[in-house]
Amino acid sequence: MVTRIAAAVGAALPLVFTNTPALAQWEGWFQWGTQGSYVHQFAHLLFLGAMLVFIWELYKGDLREWPGFRCIVWACWLLAWWNLDAIWGHALEWSLLNPVIMGQGFSRRLLMEDLHTWLFYLTKITHFVLLVPAFYLLYRGLRAMAAKIEAGRS
């Protein structure tokens, strides 16, 4: 099985680096209408809901007194926002029909035809940018908790 996958990857690599025409068809991850697209969106929605429940649980529980509590709560808010952004971003991406891409390789440019294309471009940036502070705050919050416990033990 591993050999077959390796062979497939090996065969595909030359194709990956092959130059393609200047006005390429936009390769969307999914297009709206496939079952996978709905499953993915619902998964984001579920993740978003779970984050909100977790925030509520954090406030309700005994974690409020812990150092790092605020960082964890903020991390959860950012993750919730990220999910919202992802749902919106996916919807924009999957409904973007035949965007015009000019140039080749890393110098490719997207023709900003309308508001839809602008919003798509914006959500592509925020999609990943939100994740970094979320993970950083989660790390800081948990590290503060661990430091408190380790200080208590020593």
Binding site: E27, L46, A50, G105, R108, M112, I125, M145
Partner: protein, 379 residues
């Protein structure tokens, strides 16, 4: 028309993906540290699971977007398109997994809070039992000391009077020059010292009244019912009280009796279904005040009735099995008798007989008990 480069998107996504992966690994490491500190802590376990899934998510999400951008810049191949879809599917599964862990944690937290509440309740009950036990021990010790003091007083005082009296009489009759006069004086003096000791023992016997005082049993029951009535109403039970019109005054400890009655009433409430009846009745039977607490509850089989007063025997989930033991001890300390009759499906009747032989009307000051009287009463 304006065009924007796609390269910054790729740059932002790639850098962010690397940073997220690095931070996810750091989060995982911290949660592992927390787990190592306290492996049985549900919260750390949850964070560890969450961090594990977030790390997998950081990998798959990063790869997924990296592949997507590759397709954007270099065009699609069937393999990469399928790979991206597969990783997209994995991402969906991971989101569901993350949500499941968080929602499961929500349930675990609820259970944990319930466990903590139960723990606090048990701790509180344990403290109450400890306090009650201390009170009972003090009471028993006091009683023992009183009985000992009165026994010594009774046994020593009479011969001591004789020794003291005769030594004084001999002293008067003996000539001043007689050498035995000094011996007789020593005997009289020592007899007096023993007499003082006896008086101190008697004082101890009198202090017993701090635990038992002249109280009306009906009043103790009324006060207990005031406390318990909200619980009876909450369960929609009928309470029938039939107390004697005249006060049932005896040497009682109201605090301990309230604890005992409250326990019996709570047992009755617990055993009786809604719209059932709990009857509290007092009667006078010769020199005994009789209290009956009857319920129309589920009752108990004979083997349970036999073991009701056995320490640590309980049929309740989370019960200590000490409640009824204390009830009997409290009744015993009042020189009373407790009996229990029960029939499955019919209910349970608890009868307590308390002696009121030394009763006086309330408000009358207590006379100092004479050693002889105390001995006769068997205090």
């Amino acid at each position: 028309m304006m065009t924007l480069p796609l390269f910054p998107l790729w740059l932002v996504e790639s850098l962010s993906a690397i940073l997220v992966l690095f931070l996810a690994f750091q989060v995982f490491q911290v949660t592992r540290r927390l787990m190592n500190q306290d492996p049985e802590n549900a919260l750390w376990l949850f964070f560890n699971w969450l961090a594990t899934l977030l790390m997998i998510f950081a990998c798959s999400h990063g790869v997924s977007h990296f592949v997507q951008e590759f397709l954007t810049f270099h065009g699609a191949t069937p393999f990469l398109t399928h790979l991206r879809r597969a990783i997209g599917g994995l991402d969906s599964v991971l989101y569901v997994g993350l949500a499941s862990i968080i929602l499961f944690f929500h349930r675990v937290q609820r259970l944990y809070r319930r466990m903590e509440e139960d723990h606090h309740h048990l701790e509180k009950t344990s403290h109450e039992i400890l306090a009650l036990n201390r009170e009972m021990e003090a009471l028993v010790m006091e009683r023992t000391m009183s009985e000992m003091a009165l026994g010594i007083a009774h046994g020593i005082r009479n011969p001591l009077h004789i020794i003291g009296g005769f030594s004084h009489r001999l002293l008067k009759k003996t000539d001043k020059s007689d050498p035995t006069r000094a011996w007789l004086a020593a005997i009289a003096e020592e007899a007096k010292r023993i007499e003082q000791m006896v008086e101190r023992f008697e004082t101890l016997a009198q202090r017993k009244s701090s635990f038992f005082s002249q109280e009306d049993l009906n009043q103790i029951i009324r006060t207990t019912l005031e406390l318990i009535t909200p619980e009876i109403r909450l369960k929609k039970l009928n309470l029938v009280t039939d107390l004697t019109s005249t006060p049932l005054v005896g040497r009682l400890n109201p605090h301990l009796l309230k604890v005992a009655f409250a326990h019996l009433l709570r047992n009755a409430i617990e055993a009786t279904r809604a719209k059932g009846t709990i009857t509290v009745r007092t009667t006078m039977d010769g020199q005994f005040a009789v209290l009956t607490i009857k319920d129309t509850g589920k009752g108990m089989p004979p083997d349970v009735v036999e073991r009701v007063f056995v320490p640590f025997f309980t049929t309740k989930l989370g019960g200590t099995g000490l409640g009824m033991v204390f009830v009997r001890q409290i009744v015993d300390e009042h020189r009373g008798i407790i009996t229990l009759e029960s029939k499955v499906g019919r209910g349970t009747t608890v009868t307590i007989r308390l002696p009121l032989r030394f009763a006086e009307a309330p408000g009358v000051s207590e006379p100092q008990p004479t050693p002889a009287a105390a001995s006769n009463h068997g205090i």
